[in-house]
């Protein structure tokens, strides 16, 4: 994914005279135009009719709605269940700890189980790197199967050796806030 930043002119900071020091730098005109275009597109899309009528007056879904629906349904076929594992030894947020906010994990230990589909894949990106996690795909299939696998893993975590070795085993992985 290439950002759109290259479309905007990079403006050098102007050296202002003392009497100008309270003046704001001129706004980037291209940014305003871009925002305007986005707003117009949004308004047009919001008003786009979702029903079409054939020559006999029988209603049907608009083609753009059908395309959107088919894409979303197709995304459900290609889901995956993953484990986020500690990339480095260190402290990680613990949402399932009862008396502390962080837990020490060793390399490879599980922080969280989750699922994702093609439409959602952007969820994990930056947070993974910030939290020093690797993403391990454990199961690939349709959404329903992945949800089952995720549920199985979250519940089974309590019996993982790495968890049982703790003085206070956790009910679920540190990064999972609940059982679903």
């Amino acid at each position: 994914m290439i950002t759109l930043n290259y479309l905007f002119t990079f403006q050098e900071k102007k050296v202002s005279s003392p009497k100008d020091k309270f003046l704001e730098p001129p706004p980037n005109p291209f940014f305003k135009i871009f925002v305007g275009i986005v707003v117009i597109i949004f308004l047009v899309m919001a008003k786009k009719p979702f029903l079409e009528y054939d020559k006999n007056g029988i209603p049907r879904l608009a083609s753009w709605r059908i395309e959107k629906m088919e894409k979303e349904i197709k995304d459900f076929d290609g889901a995956e269940q993953y484990a986020l594992r500690a990339r480095t030894n260190g402290w990680y947020p613990c949402y399932s700890c009862t008396d502390t906010t962080h837990i020490y994990l060793y390399i490879g230990q599980v922080w969280k189980y989750g699922i994702t589909t093609k439409g959602e894949k952007g969820r994990y990106g930056k947070s993974n790197q910030k939290l020093s996690l690797n993403y391990e795909i454990q199961y690939e299939g349709d959404l329903a199967e992945c949800l089952k696998q995720e549920r199985l893993k979250i519940y089974s975590y309590a019996l993982l050796p790495e968890n049982l070795a703790r003085k206070k085993p956790l009910i679920r992985p540190p990064g999972n806030k609940n059982d679903s």
Partner: protein
């Protein structure tokens, strides 16, 4: 960890667990390379090595440059079949190779104020260490 300029992670099929030693590359980069030596355009590089099965359509190559934070974020795919058959050192070599290839994408991402050519040259020296 948050102060590290190079942060490398992996997305991989579970059967390849243990094969992608991102820390080894990350440690070498953070030890031997200082991004400020190449200009002020890049302050941080987040690189993700992706080793997923060919049938996986969720994870694709991605590359973007955040001009505000001067951060390059990149996720590039390794050849799954090659990773499967390679030993640990072989995979490490592939990962280094992919990282170097990633540098060639900087210009297309709109990175400014960064000497990619010298950066690439010095990365190759680190690879040989």
């Amino acid at each position: 960890m948050e102060n590290r300029k190079f942060i490398l992670s992996a997305i991989y099929w579970h059967e390849l667990s243990g094969k992608l030693d991102t820390l080894r590359i990350e440690d070498a980069l953070n030890k031997h390379i200082s991004l400020s030596d190449y200009g002020s355009g890049v302050e941080r590089i987040h690189f993700t090595f992706t080793a997923v099965r060919p049938s996986n359509t969720i994870h694709e190559n991605e590359a973007k440059y955040d001009r505000k934070t001067k951060t390059i974020e990149m996720a590039l795919k390794l050849s799954y079949e090659h990773v499967v058959v390679a030993d640990a050192e072989g995979v490490l070599e592939m990962m280094w190779g992919l990282f170097v290839v990633g540098i060639d994408l900087f210009e297309g991402m709109g990175v400014v104020g960064f000497d990619e050519s010298s950066f690439k040259k010095d990365i190759r020296k680190v690879v040989k260490l």
